[in-house]
Symmetry: C2
Subunit: 223 residues, 2 copies
DNA sequence: GCAAATATAATAGTATTACTATCATCTTTG
DNA sequence: CAAAGATGATAGTAATACTATTATATTTGC
């Protein structure tokens, strides 16, 4: 039972019409998450999505310029959501060490059921971002996308944790590299664990990823 | 002046006809490297490649089942080449520490001009693998691809360095995670440095990536 | 309560992509 | 020098990633 619901705001350059403002828009978002997770981003098409939600393909194009931009929207949403969880997780903690530990936990653990909006399955969205997230920037127009702010939240998260690192060790030279390495690394390891397990050490049942990266960060930044 | 040339063997499941055995095959490989680097993998097509090499599209399909499989071939080739460099780099070194340091250097530094086969521009190939490499496994058929051995060399490289790590600290629990994290991380950081610099700490002219990851590895594995 | 604005649906169409098929010709090689 | 194999020429297909046009709902502002 929850008496509040947070609203995630997404950069308006990622969409043509705000999908959060209409029934159809929310349906596009929620069903596309299911479908991308099921088919993978390559086999996912607006035509198939249209069929699933029983709306014509061209209606989807009124919300998103392309399926690539839909992916950009979804990952932006995801990172905003993670940012919210990071802020929330830091409250009532005193030391920067505790805050950093908690933040690494949020970034490296898979999501638990929580108060995300009802039309977003954040468990599936997490899987999508792990697998397809890099496709938002591994494209020709990265620089333009970066200028338009598609990655601003991601960058802010990296900055936030980098600041913790610098607070703990002001002389540490590579905080951004360290943080972006572990964020991407955690997603990657979780994906490998499922599909190419010999690239990881994730054993049966037990989840070492958070332990590994927490350890890594504190060992690397100590003077 | 070189009196020898090494020949990289690629898993024969990645191609229909061995592109290394004919003039046309080598042309397909060498020109596709230029073209994928120039256009990005999404905009690259066999039709455009056919036009460039003045051969019909269908001739290219006689070598590679799809453009995805061509990418798999190219990345396989790349990692085999890196493996060769790793073996070469380890000769005449006594301590495992030295070997590991050298290996990290090979894996994290951009390639220098060396004795790669004339039809392969390994500088461009390195850029392609940094940017597009993950697309070989971020697809629906990863598991089948893994079973067919598309990633066997990559896995062998991870194993090789993991063994160094375990030799230095036999109690270290997560060698594979550590090594695959730094290999992917190095590529990623180099890509970020060029396109989304605020995610890194790579400054003007100086290249910190190797320093960062070398430090990271030795700090993390120390008892 | 109704006109105007806006969103959606229905239908149709286009250029391009990712292939496949067929057959003729050219080049090896045993 | 014949047979096998590789390449070229030509053609074709289903699907993708869109766009355009017009009709029909639905919302909203006065």
């Amino acid at each position: 039972m929850k008496n509040f619901q947070i609203h995630i705001v997404v950069n308006s350059d990622t969409y043509l019409r705000d999908p959060n403002m209409s029934e159809l828009g929310r349906k596009i978002v929620s069903e596309s998450i299911e479908m991308i997770d099921e088919l993978g981003f390559e086999l996912f098409t607006f035509r198939k999505l249209g069929k699933k939600i029983e709306s014509p393909e061209c209606s989807i194009y009124r919300y998103f310029e392309s399926k690539h931009m839909l992916l950009v929207y979804l990952t932006y949403w995801y990172w905003s959501w993670v940012e919210y969880k990071l802020v929330f997780a830091a409250t009532n903690l005193n030391s920067t060490e505790e805050k950093l530990t908690k933040a690494i936990k949020v970034l490296t653990e898979p999501p638990k059921k929580d108060n995300s909006p009802p039309h977003i399955n954040e468990f599936l969205l997490h899987r999508i971002v792990m697998k397809e997230g890099a496709k938002t920037y591994h494209v020709k127009g990265v620089k333009e996308g970066n200028q338009k702010g598609y990655f601003e939240v991601y960058k802010r998260i990296v900055q936030r944790l980098s600041d913790f690192v610098l607070d703990i060790n002001p002389k540490f030279e590579f905080p951004h590299m360290l943080i972006s390495t572990i964020i991407e690394g955690a997603h990657q390891q979780r994906y490998f664990a499922e599909h190419i397990p010999s690239l990881t050490d994730v054993g049966e049942g037990k989840d070492n990823i958070t332990t590994f990266y927490t350890n890594l960060v504190f060992k690397v930044i100590e003077e």
